[in-house]
Symmetry: C2
């Protein structure tokens, strides 16, 4: 077994990113109704101005704003009505000074008008005469052509994970299909003589496969696809065969478990047996989750994650998510909040500690309570809203400290 | 047309909730790999203790902690090795004082042991004798039976929207299927003579159907199912027919658009034409989005949302999401953060203003910048990370204020 130094999270992430820079991922076209959560493989450039015409934001009378100046309820301006523009139709006439056309909300304002007087501030005397009781300024109650989106503008950048709001942007442009990266295919291998699948017979000393299900769900949550999900005994040949089969069709393989000394060696040796660079990260200076291995098996990346569920998910979030984002070029803002810590708690010096927390509101501020438990506990995760990072040089956190919580 | 007073958001929400209290939603069983995002229709009660046995968290020697007391690198304790417990198997022997058994990480510790000495702090002299160089306290390096989850405990409550972490809790328990509410079926009707679908021919004065796509995506995001999605012209009979067809198979119908005066009347009259209570909310004191109608058409709830995309989504989040959560009994924590406002901006007095913001980090604090634009702008939404609520009695927000941002 080679000897490696535990790397920091940042060094590990950049080692992973640098090896995946050239990884080419094909694109595919998906319909606008199916694209939520997918990642754009090219910029979306607007094809037209939005709105495509000067549009009223109210029901009212389109005017040259100068004609309304000085108008009040006692001294109204009198304008001549030339048209009632219908919803969904273009006006047939331009207006001149002293004229007006009725326009409904969302309707197109005629040439010559630069603003709209709300219907509440006007009165129709007869078929031809409108009294305006309130002045409007230029541009008032109007969205100008291109105000929202300008033709040729990048409206959604490559790498954006599409949200329902982005789907609105696509719909505005009449874009019914977009190019996104195909889903990353990921295999998940749970190792350990003690691991049984959830519907297999269970006996004392065994542990059910938790990581397989949690990791699969996370992969899907991040827009990936679970290619294979298997459980394998702690044996070199068996593990090697599963990794080989996984890599044949997957972009990434995750081996979870094997936290015993012997199993760690297998994972390491199996990764190295495929040629290529082999293991380049062996141990990470983080708590929980030190026994983590990352390597290149041929041209594919393989992750060996710890067996404890909370460690396993944590390292997944730190490293596998990073790899997925690197390949996809994902642009994403994390949701976070600065919270007041509600108690003292220690950390491990020399390692970055990820402390799970539960967030609650009290007296108009967000507070965070540590969720404690040994790292084998699955409830650690389900009771937490997020985590804080405590740096290696710190000794812990004090009650009253304001720390950044990253939401799950 | 009846006259209604604009209601506050809270009054509107409780009027909606009270009318949906008895709404019965069937359950269905789904597999653990498909249940993410679904809502539990009954409590999940643990069937067994987790762990099911006293388990080691390290590779090492299981001992009665008293036998290690006083042990140090200069004066080790000498113990007799009685067994090497295999991973996934129960120990075959108990240990007595002066004895020890080797246990791998995750392995079961034998009767008589209460702690585990890490392998790094011990040495195997020969097949029978182990030197222990460091004392352990009772319970050290051990997760006791039931420490994580106790048999009979509610591990996931009814109403919980299942996350990948919750899936881990289910897997631990060997639960391969869970009872969840069937997906809420929702129909979305976009109204307006000017509305065309995204792949229809487009001409000046028309507007593409944005809300239909955005709302559909939001419905799915919240775990619902889009039963129908149609565009209908502003005509009483046409709208009535679409609502009738929608309600035949849907739990909820949403009518979006029709923000012109005439269309508002249609929506109101159509809802009232089905019998039952009819419209009970007509106007909400919020900005943007006042022209909102909610009513009971027979025993089904119908929402009339504003036509402007950002108003429409806002009112969806305030009211339709509330209705979905009420029917599902959803328990959910919102993600939020207190942020420092980076500029002054006004609000509408007498109404609760929802101001979209973009969140960024600067000098170790989260700051929020208002995203401005008229409410017809779709980019308002896609450029925002969340929103703040400005109460009716406030005049606006000042730069430097610390306000709560609710993330989308």
């Amino acid at each position: 077994m080679d000897f490696f130094k535990a790397v920091s999270v940042e060094d590990g992430q950049s080692a992973i990113a640098s090896r995946l820079k050239g990884y080419a991922l094909e694109s595919e076209e998906v319909g606008i109704s199916e694209c939520r959560g997918r990642i754009l493989s090219e910029d979306v450039v607007s094809r037209e101005n939005i709105p495509g015409f000067n549009r009223s934001t109210v029901d009212g009378y389109a005017v040259d704003s100068r004609d309304s100046h000085g108008a009040s309820s006692t001294i109204p301006s009198m304008l001549m009505l030339v048209e009632e523009v219908e919803m969904g139709s273009a006006p047939s006439k331009a207006i001149s000074r002293g004229q007006t056309s009725y326009v409904p909300t969302g309707g197109m304002i005629p040439e010559g008008a630069d603003s709209v007087v709300m219907i509440e501030n006007a009165e129709k005397l007869d078929e031809e005469n409108i009294m305006v009781y309130k002045a409007v300024s230029k541009g008032q109650n109007v969205i100008l052509k291109g105000d929202d989106i300008r033709e040729g503008e990048v409206v959604l950048p490559k790498g954006k994970r599409l949200t329902s709001h982005d789907i609105g942007v696509l719909a505005t442009q009449g874009i019914s299909k977009v190019k996104v990266h195909r889903k990353l295919r990921i295999s998940i291998i749970s190792t350990g003589d003690e691991i049984v699948d959830i519907d297999e017979p269970f006996e004392t000393g065994k542990i059910r496969d938790i990581n397989g299900y949690v990791l699969a769900s996370r992969v899907e949550e991040l827009g990936g696809e679970v290619e294979r999900k298997v459980i394998v005994k702690d044996e070199f040949e068996l593990l090697k065969r599963e990794v080989a089969e996984s890599l044949a069709n997957s972009d990434i393989a995750i081996i979870s478990g094997g936290s015993s000394v012997g199993a760690k060696d297998y994972t390491h040796d199996v990764i190295n047996s495929f040629g290529g660079e082999g293991v380049f990260i062996h141990g990470v200076a983080v708590k929980p989750g030190k026994p983590t291995i990352v390597g290149m098996a041929g041209d594919k990346m393989v992750f060996g994650l710890p067996g404890h569920p909370s460690s396993s998910i944590l390292l997944f979030n730190i490293f596998v998510k990073e790899a997925m984002n690197q390949i996809n070029g994902t642009i994403e803002k994390e949701k976070s909040a600065y919270c007041v810590m509600d108690s003292n708690f220690p950390s491990s010096s020399g390692k970055r500690t990820y402390q799970m927390v539960s967030v609650y509101e009290e007296n108009g501020e967000l507070r965070a309570a540590p969720v404690f438990g040994k790292s084998g506990m699955i409830t650690l995760l389900s009771k937490s809203d997020g985590y804080i990072e405590i740096e290696p040089h710190e000794e812990g956190v004090y009650s009253g400290d304001r720390r950044k919580v990253k939401y799950f």
